[in-house]
Symmetry: C2
Amino acid sequence: MVTLAVDAMGGDDAPREIVKGTVDAAGQLADTQYLLVGREAAIDAELSQLGPVRDRIAIVDAPDVIAMDEVPVEALKRKRGSSIARAVGLVRQGKAQAIVSAGNTGAAVAASYMTLGTLKGIRRPGIAAAFYVKEHPVVVMDVGANIHCKPADLFLYGIMASLYAQEVLGVRTPRIGILNIGEEEKKGIALVRETADLFQRAEPGLDFVGNVEGDAIFRGLCDVIICDGFVGNIVLKVSEGLAENVLHVFMEEFAKCSGGGAALDTFRETLDRFRWRIDYAEQGGAPLLGVNGVCIICHGRSHARAMTNAMRCAVRMVQKNLNHKIEALAARVTPLLAEVD
Amino acid sequence: MVTLAVDAMGGDDAPREIVKGTVDAAGQLADTQYLLVGREAAIDAELSQLGPVRDRIAIVDAPDVIAMDEVPVEALKRKRGSSIARAVGLVRQGKAQAIVSAGNTGAAVAASYMTLGTLKGIRRPGIAAAFYVKEHPVVVMDVGANIHCKPADLFLYGIMASLYAQEVLGVRTPRIGILNIGEEEKKGIALVRETADLFQRAEPGLDFVGNVEGDAIFRGLCDVIICDGFVGNIVLKVSEGLAENVLHVFMEEFAKCSGGGAALDTFRETLDRFRWRIDYAEQGGAPLLGVNGVCIICHGRSHARAMTNAMRCAVRMVQKNLNHKIEALAARVTPLLAEVD
């Protein structure tokens, strides 16, 4: 049995979509149970709307809510009874194995990092986001948890994201690339060159393909792309903004077309599938890898389906014992990293 | 009269598309003349195919060609007679006022920087790329010329890109944002915070809006976005890869739709306009701002229309005397930059 601590108050459409996603997950995922963390009355009201669905779902009261735009660490200090802090606390106490939150990303990262600590051999956690544009996932890590990365951090991101791709997303032998401005070996900033050097010196078993450019995410040239959290967050936001805008532009051009409006109805389903494929927020959450526990971060505008997908990912991470595998692989590279410190 | 030195050998479809774009430009732009720089016989053969069109077009022979994947500085040293080096030389000698090239970007940047030097008050040149997704341009600078930026460099990029947006792209009062991972003032890396500080201390006249996230490029929140060349190049490549892929995904989903194939014909024009709006390579070139001359860098896969658009941009930069205006504004901020050195 896997127990998830769900931050019921986090996200633009919380608690409604979070509760709905949880009920759906409970219906779909065997051997799971759910602790909905947040304001009891509000959660209860949403659950009531969904009928007699409380099987394997319980509420854990948390009086405070951290808003999307609050400064994370300050908010965590001021609001000790926030839903995210309580959810992380449940994992810390062993009452749950994973946290799922669509709330303030910085708060979820800070609460998990500070309360759970890191896995053995890992220095800094990072967020691994999967892009699905060509059916196959491409994992980009880190997309915003750690903006001051050292080569050892990036190297460990490669290891963690690679294991995640393999164990959770089903990529057989993940090819790892490092984001750079050109593919030649000598190109780019020192951080990137020194990280590449670590991969070259590491024992075999990691399929490191070297430098890749930004478009590699969408070209299937590799399965894992590592970068620091500053660059990765910008990549994520650019992709998000562009995908959204492209849909908008398309609708606009389509409407200009004679008969476009009526034809649009015909293609509604096509457009929905199209939107789903280019909108990563629809596809579930991104794990914060490296913390001593499982924490899945969802997009603030996640709807029920995305939440259910994120919960499926959390369950899989627990069942596959991903953290244990990360520690085992990290232990093997510890001597190498000690050399470069 | 404005004279352009066109690198006839640069680009995936050179010299054909370059020559065609030049002939079109000559037909469309008054008071302009063109020096097609490259292998005389190859250029001559292309010109002959286009009929008696040599009015205001001359050929300047250059025996060498730098390939798209050559290491720029090495290639420039080895191939002294390359089309790009000769084109830059023509500007240096005063025989032309601007270079237009769809060749190896690094070679165009290095040749221009080393041969022409920088404008007074400017330390490092940068490439300013315009994104047009919402009809209005958003200029991102630098997209790859300078990966080791100091705050003063980024600040000057703001000034240069802002003047370019105003004078060449017709943005009345450009709002300048700095790319960061959050909008709060304290967020992000030191480079960004120190650059923001320079804008706060600069005399009024620049409309600095502070931090913006990656999606701002597509949301119309500002008109100029500054970042270092490492981040900017990744943004450019991610956008390019995503836009291309989105078209691919759309076609794929459309084909699955019953009657999709036939319907696609109906919407061919819509799709063409859609592609044009999301594909920056179609929209002309990106100027290398800060060099003592005008240099427009085009995408390697530019077709004739993109080349003509880039030439129009070059002519406008010369006619508007953009470099003179950049030097005037740079002179006014020189005391401030001297303080932080």
